[in-house]
């Protein structure tokens, strides 16, 4: 069953992007997230200045860009961890500007962090349980009556166990999260985010600090999210990973979205190369420029000869 859905979901995502323009802010057929004119300034520095961007539902979209491009700041704003100075964005048609982070998560847009935030002194299982929503036992007064939340807790535990098994963390169930390795923490954070039951999963550098052996399994898990009908938006530096799993790539530089496109061609886009390596670093010379340079060189040489004479 798993095998049949895999190609279809990916194919559907790719079909949605077929024939789209490569311009920044190109409209998508079925956007889950629509961002308009979002600006964030830190004093005189404009960290984010995104005019328009849409994220296609059911796809894996990568957000790439050189260091300092404003990717994480942009992420923080969308998820309510930082406030935007201007602009607006909607998730499933719902306005999210100024909405606090916990409400954004409840709406179905759940993020992970660049520096993994495993809750060290809680066990792996407690970390997982924390992710579940609408828990009766999280109300102060109901918490005092164990009978009122036990049943729900058992359901949550069951769901958590399934996820832990899928993420191969079931053996670590009762260990402190702080005792896990860096890669296992990444897995735990992703599994915990899934406990929320998100529609859009935002992964901030999911591969940072993960050893190569775990990379493949993490990649597989990200692909699985799409197969289950979720949308994924992730920030990543590792271009191999971007090429491997993403259906669409959005490129940011100096706070703005400068290009969009499919992963296999995006890196040959001149705007992207300029952003990463600087403008005109390898621009071919035109015939006139060549002539000009040649004449300059000759003139210099002649001047040198004349001086000697």
């Amino acid at each position: 069953m798993h095998a049949d859905t895999t190609p279809s979901r990916k194919a559907a995502a790719l079909a949605a992007f077929a024939g789209l323009d490569r311009e920044p802010g190109v409209p998508k057929p079925d956007p889950i997230l629509v961002v308009d004119k979002v600006v964030r300034r830190f004093g005189g520095l404009t960290a984010v200045n995104v005019d328009h961007v849409e994220i296609q539902r059911g796809s894996i979209t990568a957000l790439i860009g050189p260091n300092g491009a404003g990717k994480t700041t942009f992420f923080n704003q969308l998820t309510g961890f930082d406030s935007a100075d201007e602009g607006s964005w909607t998730f499933n048609g719902k306005q999210l500007k100024g909405v606090p982070a916990h409400r954004v998560a409840r709406a179905g847009m759940v993020r992970t962090f660049q520096l993994t935030k495993a809750l060290s002194k809680l066990t792996v299982m407690e970390n997982m349980r924390l992710g579940a929503q609408n828990q009766r036992g999280e109300n102060f007064f109901r918490a005092l009556i164990p009978g009122s939340w036990r049943g729900q807790e058992d359901e949550i535990t069951e769901r958590a166990e399934e996820l832990l098994e899928r993420f191969k963390l079931d053996a670590k169930r009762d260990d402190f999260a702080g005792s896990l390795s860096g890669g296992q923490r990444k897995l735990l954070e992703m599994a915990r985010a899934l406990m929320v039951g998100p529609e859009l999963v935002m992964l901030d550098e999911p591969m940072a600090g993960v050893n190569p052996a775990l990379t493949q399994s993490l990649l597989g898990h990200v692909k699985d999210l799409r197969e289950e009908g979720m949308t994924v938006l992730f920030v990543e530096h590792d271009m191999d990973m971007v090429r491997d799993i993403s259906d669409w790539v959005v490129v940011m530089a100096q706070g703005a979205v400068i290009a969009e496109g499919p992963p296999d061609t995006i890196m040959s886009d001149s705007r992207v190369i300029d952003a990463y390596l600087g403008a005109h670093h390898d621009a071919p010379m035109s015939a006139e420029e060549f002539e000009e340079q040649l004449q300059e060189a000759e003139a210099e040489l002649e001047a040198g000869i004349e001086e000697k004479a």
Binding site: T79, F81, P100, A101, H102, R103, A105, R106, V110, R111, T112, F113, K117, A118, L119, S120, K121, L122, E126, N127, R129, L130, G131, Q133, Q135, R136, G137, E138, N139, F140, A143, L144, P146, W149, E153, F176, G178, S179, E189, R192, A193, M195, V196
Partner: protein, 329 residues
């Protein structure tokens, strides 16, 4: 050296009024600091407003005792909101700064000349515990085992105190085993992670601050009733720091640690203090030590003991060594 007296006072200290008051204050701090990671350095103020709320209602305005208790509780909750609303959205250290300052403000207002008609200045308030002792079910006499006994008034205060401690421990036990307590512990570890999982962190921190304040304020009531008087300087910042010492001594985030910690702390203080004063009067110590300076020496020795405990058992008495090891990573 009268070892019997030393022994009796020491055993009495383990369940005495100070132990009860500090245990309740420490249970409150354990909820705030041990479980939720909130640095409330103004626990003394929570006990102070409760004690004064009750004492002033009864002694200054001649209103009923139970109304005094209600006003004391209300004052504690209001104080928690006043401190929490501006600071709980900020980083943890701001709460520490604001609470320590607020505690001093509260104490200085209580002892100010300007308000002495209400709060009684540095003499504080007396004559408010009549109704409480009128409820005393114990008939006059002494209660206890052999020499370790208390008169009927102290017995009544201690009975109420230990019942309140039992209720508070039961409450903490139930709460911290529940999903509510799980959110609190998670906030202590990393607020942003909890926020990203759809929990209203501000609301939980506020609940913890209020709950810890209210549990602590019960200690304030008992402090006032047990001494039949309130004075502003009972609620100085060192009160808060002793309560923190007790929490760390017992081991943070353990249900019974504040109670055991309080008992050990007072047993140590009383035992060392009494032994020193007996030794001085028996002429056993060098002339450097006099009756006047052994009070300070007592704190030095207890401090040394606590330092040794934290060096050799950093997790406290009930703590889990594995948890401390995680911090080092």
């Amino acid at each position: 050296m009268d070892w019997t007296t030393i022994l009796i006072t020491t055993v009495k200290a383990s369940i005495g009024l100070e132990t009860v008051v500090y245990a309740l204050a420490a249970i409150g701090i354990n909820i705030q600091f041990g479980y939720a990671g909130l640095l409330n350095f103004g626990q003394a103020a929570f006990l102070g407003v409760a004690a004064y709320g009750m004492a002033v209602t009864v002694a200054t305005f001649h209103l009923p005792f139970w109304l005094g208790i209600v006003i004391g509780l209300a004052a504690t909750v209001v104080l928690a909101f006043l401190l929490g609303i501006p600071t709980l959205r900020l980083r943890a250290d701001y709460l520490a700064i604001v609470t320590i300052a607020a505690a001093e403000i509260v104490r200085l207002v209580f002892r100010s000349v300007k308000f002495s008609s209400v709060f009684g200045g540095s003499d504080g308030r007396q004559n408010f515990s009549g109704d409480f002792f009128a409820m005393n079910p114990y008939s006059p006499g002494t209660y206890g085992i052999g020499p370790i006994s208390f008169n009927e008034r102290v017995t009544w205060v201690l009975t109420v105190g230990w019942v309140l401690i039992a209720i508070a421990c039961g409450l903490v036990y139930l709460l911290m085993k529940s999903p509510w307590g799980r959110v609190l512990k998670a906030i202590r570890e990393d607020e942003d992670a909890v926020r990203s999982l759809g929990k209203n962190v501000f609301s939980y921190k506020m609940q913890a601050l209020v709950l810890g304040g209210v549990v602590g304020c019960l200690g304030g009531f008992l402090f006032a009733l047990g001494q039949a008087s309130v004075q502003p300087d009972l609620f100085s910042t060192e009160f808060t720091f002793y309560a923190y010492t007790i929490v760390i001594l017992g081991g943070a985030a353990r249900v019974f640690s504040p109670v055991v910690g309080a008992a050990i702390f007072w047993v140590l203080l009383v035992f060392v203090g009494n032994t020193l004063s007996e030794a001085v009067s028996a002429g056993l110590l060098p002339s450097l030590f006099t009756v006047n300076n052994i009070g300070a020496v007592r704190f030095m020795l207890v401090g040394l003991g606590l330092m040794l405990l934290l060096i050799f058992r950093p997790q406290g008495i009930f703590g889990d060594k594995r948890e401390i090891a995680l911090d080092a990573r």
